[in-house]
């Protein structure tokens, strides 16, 4: 063992530290020590260097930031002697990741080691590349690594590393391996006798076939051969058996590879494989030794997946189900976990659902297991196997579990319970019970659309109304109830409370007082609902109850001057209306039935199968001769214009309901600005449907899963896009230009959205490199096909977009990384040429990619000692340019400072003696310039804010020019979208009047992934 006393002493010291603070001090001391030594290169012997980088790794492992010395670690790689080189390689691969710039410096050395003659060096280099190699490595090293892998003169030691190294390079860039030449080689590799090389090669194969199984079809019989060799003939050297099992890992990998081939055509191969699988299924016993057990079950579970994939004969399938049934009832937690997991997968296989149902009680037991991992699996399985026949049992179990479930599971649990209750409700009163219980037990996780949905059902089903009202009344007796419960019970009692009038405790004044008790505890979104309920209660008291009237009027009076517009308006208008007698009755009459719409929850759950669930809700919906004009189905799959005729209007309904019925089926085309319902407020209150959900109901339209199904609202009507118009052009959601400008100043958001697709973007920038991920989300229930994305790069950027799949499955999101490298300064913009087919319509768009100049700037604040010498050293054109700019959008200085900061040009306050001037600095990164300091000075004229003098300087003439022009663009025409994003410092004269300005796209979250998830 190599003794490194210094290192051991340091580790002991750390261990002896009494507390975190002492440890930190010791670490800081050591880091200082290492730093000093690294600076003094002359006395730095290879031994010391080695010791120090180990210390750095140790400190890094303890969780401290080690932001220096990477260079020293990397430099050890080129040491001539093995001990130093070894340390260099291993520490580099632990400290750095593939995105570090330093790693690029090492490419040549690494390559020399790979193509060199020294076997031990080859191993070190291959290990590094295999563990942290990035795209650059893939491009320059793949051919060399391939050569090593197939070389007959290399020892297995090197070749197995080469195989996995190549796997990494392939993952980083699939083009690194040329399929045509490689497929045959790959097949040959599978004949390898050395098990180490064979194991690594099979891993490589798994990656290759997952990408393109056709090209590697000659490998299929070879995988079967490997399985025969291991599982049937047990033909392996002793050292490759693991607890008596011939390399379980290799068996698993071979079976994994086979799962990427759609079928096995050749009858003899198929037969041979099934023989092996049969042997595994039947011959795996539970043994005492835990490792042997795990290893044999690893093989068994993989065999099960393969059998499911191959769609074997029925007999074998039922064998599998029987095995799984056994597994989910064993005590051993790992096996039970995997049994539940695989049984959930098994649900996809036809004809076995009934057998699985037999295990229901067993699965419910697992829902109460002490292990959350197992409970999760049980929940998933129960959710998957639920149908009309067992919904009542399963949902009730879920509700029961909800009271004891840990916080992290409640959200999922309540969502699943709500979906199942709606989807499979055997009767409607049960549904109301379930949802009310859900609100009671986990109100925080019950989204608005769930309670909207309850209101909708109750309104549409007369026989349900007294029941719902009495239930709502019961919950109000509880001491502390969730605000959502206040909302739903207030709404229901306002509408149907009078149906309970004869029952004890249910007179209008009693209902009023129990509801009013809750008012002090609720938020401003609930108060409007309560006010509506009061008005309704008042209207329903016949003969009028002067005492109640007095109380309620006092409340209306109180809120007349409420700061919240919605509350204020309701209070004022209800007060006025309630004095009007007959008109009051009219306006506050019971709500008409809602048009039937498909629930957004169900839609979410149903996108796969559209089997006729005989749920009570669905049945009702079908039978109802109500004014449900359109039974909205999910958008037609064939892509032809939706065959939606203008429905004939049945007598009693007004134009409004026609308008409503026309409203988009999915609610996805909606263009309303959720932040701005005010224009409709008036009509809202004066219309016959005066009492609605809270204003929040409107915004739910846009927030994805809380879709259109929820509360009806006239605002809805204004958002209608006539159905006929959908045929050829797509209605964009949001303005592309605005979205682009917004993304120029931030790193994630939506780039493009139409009714079918949403493209989100998330970017990370590091120096002159950027990594963007495009999130392409299909918003529909049918696939988007012929998806094409092409990057049209400007000359100064190197862009690589990972291939986008041709088809995006329904409601799925695909991610496509885009690597960006900035070669030199330029203001040109890259364009994404994007197109797809929805049904027969081709939609295409050219979208600017927000990889703009300012993304390669990094904020940098200088002190005057740093700034002025630099500033003076730039003497004039072409490095320092000055221009007087006119027609500037007038901004007060703090606003301008914010603007600069927003594109990473940092204002350095106090540097310029003249308070009307700004001085700023930043660092620009590109390949040609490296990291380059840029300086700028803006001299403004307080008398005329439309003009200013700007001086920009940097060490590169192109950069100076481009940056100057860039800043100029920002100053002259600040794009509309970005305005909202510049943190404005007070209303300056430049601020456009807010009313005219189109609202900037409202984005619920910053993470496009999350946003899409919300939509789907």
């Amino acid at each position: 063992m190599t003794g490194m006393r210094g290192l051991s002493v340091f580790i002991s010291d750390i261990r002896n530290c009494q507390n975190k603070e002492a440890e930190r001090l010791r670490v800081d001391k050591e880091l200082g020590n290492v730093r000093t030594c690294f600076k003094n290169e002359k006395v730095l012997t290879p031994y010391k260097k080695k010791k120090y980088v180990w210390k750095m790794l140790y400190i890094h492992m303890l969780g401290y930031d080690v932001d220096f010395g990477h260079m020293e670690a990397v430099s050890l790689i080129s040491a001539p002697k093995y001990p130093e080189k070894q340390v260099g390689y291993i520490v580099t691969s632990c400290l750095l990741n593939e995105n570090h710039d330093f790693l690029r410096l090492a490419i040549n050395t690494v390559r020399n080691d790979i193509i060199g003659r020294n076997e031990t060096f080859q191993c070190l280099a291959l290990t590094l590349v295999g563990n942290i190699g990035g795209r650059d490595f893939a491009e320059s090293l793949a051919p060399d690594v391939q050569k090593l892998l197939i070389s007959s003169s290399c020892r297995p030691l090197v070749r197995k590393k080469a195989a996995l190294c190549l796997l990494r390079l392939f993952r980083k860039n699939p083009d690194a391996i040329n399929v045509d030449g490689w497929a045959d080689r790959m097949a040959q590799l599978l004949d390898e006798r050395d098990l180490g090389v064979l194991t690594s090669s099979t891993s490589l194969l798994v990656a290759l076939v997952s990408n393109n199984h056709e090209a590697y079809s000659s490998c299929l019989p070879k995988c079967v051969k490997i399985l025969e060799r291991l599982a049937r003939n047990q033909d392996v050297p002793q050292e490759y058996t693991y607890y008596g099992i011939p390399s379980p890992w290799l068996q698993v990998k071979a079976m994994r590879a086979l799962q990427y081939f759609p079928t096995i055509e050749d009858p003899s191969t198929r037969k041979a494989l099934f023989e092996v699988l049969q042997r595994i299924l039947m011959g795996t016993d539970v043994v005492k030794n835990v490792n042997k057990n795990n290893a044999s079950h690893a093989v068994l579970f993989e065999a099960l997946s393969l059998v499911m994939h191959l769609d074997a004969e029925k007999e074998m399938m039922s064998q599998c189900v029987a095995l799984l049934g056994k597994f989910i009832s064993v005590r051993e937690p790992n096996i039970r976990y995997l049994g539940l997991e695989n049984m959930t997968r098994m649900l996809m296989v036809t004809d076995v659902q009934d057998i699985i149902k037999k295990h229901q009680s067993q699965i419910i037991t697992s829902l109460k297991d002490p292990d959350i991992s197992i409970r999760r699996r049980a929940l998933d399985l129960l959710y998957g196997m639920c149908d009309v026949s067992n919904a009542k049992d399963i949902v009730e179990e879920l509700l029961q579990y909800l009271s004891t479930a840990e916080f992290s599971m409640r959200e999922e649990l309540s969502l699943k319970a709500a979906i199942l209750a709606e989807k499979f409700a055997p009767d409607l009163s049960w549904y109301v019970d379930v949802i009310l219980q859900l609100i009671d037990k986990a109100g925080d996780f019950v989204s608005d659309d769930i309670w909207f949905r309850v209101v909708q059902f109750v309104t549409n089903n007369e026989d349900l109304q007294p029941y719902a009202a009495s239930k709502a009344r019961e919950y109000l007796d509880k001491i502390a109830i969730h605000e959502t419960m206040v909302k739903v019970s207030a709404y229901i009692l306002g509408e149907y409370g009078h149906l309970l009038a004869r029952r004890p405790g249910c007179s209008a004044s009693e209902l009023f007082s129990i509801l009013h008790e809750k008012l002090p505890t609720v938020s401003t979104t609930t108060i409007p609902i309560l006010l509506s309920t009061y008005a309704k209660l008042l209207m329903h008291t016949q003969p009028p109850d002067p005492e109640l009237q007095k109380q309620i009027w006092a409340i209306f009076k109180k809120y007349e001057s409420c700061i919240d517009v919605e509350i204020q308006q309701r209070a004022v208008e209800y007060f006025e209306l309630s004095k009007k007698g007959a008109a009051f009755m009219d306006v506050l009459a019971e709500m008409p039935k809602f048009p039937e719409r498909q629930s957004s929850l169900i839609k979410k759950a149903e996108d796969v199968e559209d089997t006729a669930d005989q749920s009570a809700i669905k049945l009702r919906a079908q039978q109802q001769p109500s004014n449900a004009l359109v039974l909205a189905d999910p958008q037609p799959v064939n892509g032809a214009p939706p065959p939606l005729k203008v429905p004939s209007v049945s007598g009693s309904t007004g134009p409004e309901s026609v308008a409503r019925s026309l409203s988009q089926p999915n609610g996805t085309l909606s263009n309303i600005d959720p932040q701005n319902p005010s224009p409709d407020l008036l009509s809202d209150l004066l219309g016959p449907l005066a009492i609605e959900g809270p204003p929040g109901a409107v915004s739910s339209e846009q927030h994805g899963p809380i879709g259109a199904g929820g509360a009806p609202d006239e605002v809805d009507g204004s958002a209608i896009v006539p159905v006929e118009e959908q045929t050829n052009t797509v209605e964009l959601v949001g303005n592309i230009a605005e979205r682009f400008h917004a993304l120029c100043l931030k790193d994630s958001g939506v780039l493009y959205e139409d009714p079918y697709i949403q493209i989100g973007i998330k970017a990370e920038w590091r120096g002159h490199h950027g990594r963007l991920v495009l999130f392409l989300g299909n918003k529909n229930t049918s696939p988007l096909t012929s998806v094409q994305a092409l990057i049209l790069p400007p000359a100064h950027l190197k862009l690589e977009l990972s291939p986008v799949p041709d088809t995006i499955p329904p409601r799925a999101q695909v991610q496509s990384p885009l690597e960006v490298m900035n070669i030199r300064p330029s203001r040109d913009v890259a364009v994404l040429d994007f197109s797809y087919k929805f049904g027969t319509n081709v939609v295409s768009a050219k979208l600017r990619i927000p990889a703009v100049l300012n993304k390669f700037l990094q904020p940098l604040q200088l002190t005057s000692e740093e700034f002025f010498p630099q500033w003076r050293s730039l003497t004039g054109p072409p490095l320092k340019l000055q221009e007087v700019i006119r027609g500037v959008r007038p901004l007060v200085l703090p606003e301008m400072a914010n603007l600069f900061n927003s594109f990473h040009v940092t204002i350095c306050p106090g540097l310029d003696p003249n308070p009307n001037n700004l001085v700023a600095s930043t660092t620009f990164y590109s390949e040609s310039t490296g990291a380059m300091l840029c300086l700028a000075r803006i001299e403004t004229d307080p008398a005329d804010r439309t003009q200013l003098r700007m001086t920009v300087g940097s060490g590169d003439p192109t950069l100076t020019l481009e940056l100057k022009e860039f800043i100029k663009e920002q100053l002259i025409a600040i794009p509309v979208g970005s305005r909202a994003l510049v943190p404005a410092a007070g209303p300056g004269p430049g601020q456009a009047p807010p009313a005219v300005q189109p609202p900037s796209p409202v984005i619920a979250a910053d993470d496009p992934g999350a946003m899409l998830a919300g939509l789907l």
Partner: protein
């Protein structure tokens, strides 16, 4: 594939980390913090799998040390569980009944051995004998280089810890 390997003691001290997917320093610290919280708090008789952020973490406790490996959701959990055991057996053979202290003071050895076992987050070698052979060959190379370096530099090195 295995995205990372994490060895953490019952007290939450990190003994080894190895990342096969790119994580920044910040992300690494966050992952370690989050996962040790989840895993160290799990009771003794539960399964060896934890679902975490769309991944699965397979872990096993050996004395005071938890060995964790993070894999994709569709990967074979038991296979990875036995990779952990395989690694432990190799460490055991190398150190002769390994204990946490061995790994603390010889953490670099643990790294060398891991590198002979996994590359690119995949199993490289399933023979304990082969791994042991390679590691001892490496040790010999280092020893040989040391002797070659002669005594003087050794003395200097010893003097300047």
């Amino acid at each position: 594939m295995i995205h990372f390997v994490l060895l953490v003691s019952r007290q939450g001290k990190v003994r080894l980390t190895k990342w096969y997917s790119p994580y920044t320093q910040k992300e690494r610290s966050k992952v370690i913090r989050e996962l040790s919280g989840v895993i160290l708090n799990r009771g003794p008789k539960l399964c060896n799998f934890v679902e975490w952020r769309g991944y699965k973490v397979v872990y096993k406790r050996y004395a005071s040390l938890y060995f964790c490996m993070c894999i994709d959701q569709e990967d074979n959990e038991l296979e990875v569980l036995e990779i952990i055991h395989h690694y432990v057996e190799i460490l055991d053979r190398y150190f002769g009944s390994v204990c946490e202290l061995d790994l603390i003071f010889n953490f670099h050895k643990a790294y060398y051995i891991l590198d002979e076992l996994l590359i690119a987050g995949e199993l490289q070698e399933s023979s304990k004998k082969t791994v042991a052979r390679i590691i001892s060959a490496q040790d010999q190379l280092v020893e040989a280089a040391k002797e070659e370096a002669g005594s003087i530099s050794n003395i200097i090195a010893q003097a300047t810890k």
